[in-house]
Symmetry: C2
Subunit: 167 residues, 2 copies
DNA sequence: TCATAACATGTTATAACATAACACCTACTT
DNA sequence: AAGTAGGTGTTATGTTATAACATGTTATGA
């Protein structure tokens, strides 16, 4: 999965991080959140979240179902969609519309209007912070329209892919 | 379809316009473009574009297929998807990811990275101009990542809907 | 003019994504 | 105990999209 670690320039935005820390942090965060809000962090919900945070890339609902099946859970479609809806509602999972796929949230504030950068070659996805990325959205209020949710997805090619291939 | 035209405040962004002018303009524009680029504006392509620009709201591929069928065209799925892909490639149609639907472009410069405002109640969609709307995207270049296409969709409730209903 | 290449459309079948509807179980409440 | 709410399981089906191949049409050039 991480074939290109030797020497090549890598895009900052897709930089690796310590999966161990990332994973543990994320689990702790979600546990605290559920505790505080008096929500059930059931084995199924935990497993779905773990599957997503482990892979750290967007997974289709049916991929998640396969993983669930391998781990002894039921794997009929509603199982995945229900849990995903629930986790999305609380900001721990986001849907990447352009890929019909789901990704664990990597943002500690659980924005409900994240922005994503998607490499159309390796399908890696990065959740970007407004500030850091240089992207900026003006007020979410557009002339009498109340914006509840903003979907922002930037598709292109990451440096690793563009430098590695003949295009 | 346009039940609320009497007196209520309407959201500027969804303001009505002269469909006749809009339609004619759009057809003329696309004709000119195809001519200039030496592309074929075939009856099928024309019809699909007309269906979209007439309705002036996002239509699902299968809705377009029904309309095609009613007008004597073939209505098997690939027909619609192929034409839609073609029209999208040239910027005359956009896909609204959040609705799995397609809409004719209302922007004369055929941006390939438009922004949309979507009312989740009436499902009206407006294509907004960066400048006018107060939305702004910074450079499409994010640290070594070449952005090719940006999807921006803002979902919420328009004034007409929020003032009309009990929510 | 006929071969051919490129493009456009037609058709069948199927893949991929998502939800409706109902059943059952558990935990908590009154 | 009966009632309610939340969570999961299951079957069936609905919706969206594409693969693969067949046929037609137009432009080009030998």
């Amino acid at each position: 999965m991480n074939k290109k670690r030797e020497g090549k320039t890598t895009s900052k935005i897709f930089d690796d991080h310590d999966h161990g820390i990332c994973f543990d942090d994320a689990i702790e965060q979600i546990e605290n959140y559920f505790l505080k809000k008096n929500l059930q962090f059931t084995p199924l919900r935990r497993k779905v979240f773990e599957i997503l945070i482990k892979d750290h890339k967007p997974l289709g609902a049916y991929e998640i179902l396969e993983a669930l099946g391998r781990d002894g859970f039921s794997s009929s479609p509603p199982i995945a969609y229900r849990v995903l809806d629930f986790l999305m509602k609380h900001g721990f999972v986001h849907k990447i519309q352009g890929l019909n796929a789901f990704i664990a949230c990597s943002n500690p504030n659980h924005s409900h209007s994240p922005a994503f950068v998607i490499c159309r070659k390796c399908e890696k996805v990065a959740e970007v912070d407004e500030r850091k990325s240089g992207i900026s959205f003006a007020s979410p209020n557009i002339e009498n329209f109340e914006v509840e949710k903003t979907t922002v997805e930037m598709t292109g090619v990451c440096t690793t892919c563009s430098s590695a291939a003949i295009m």
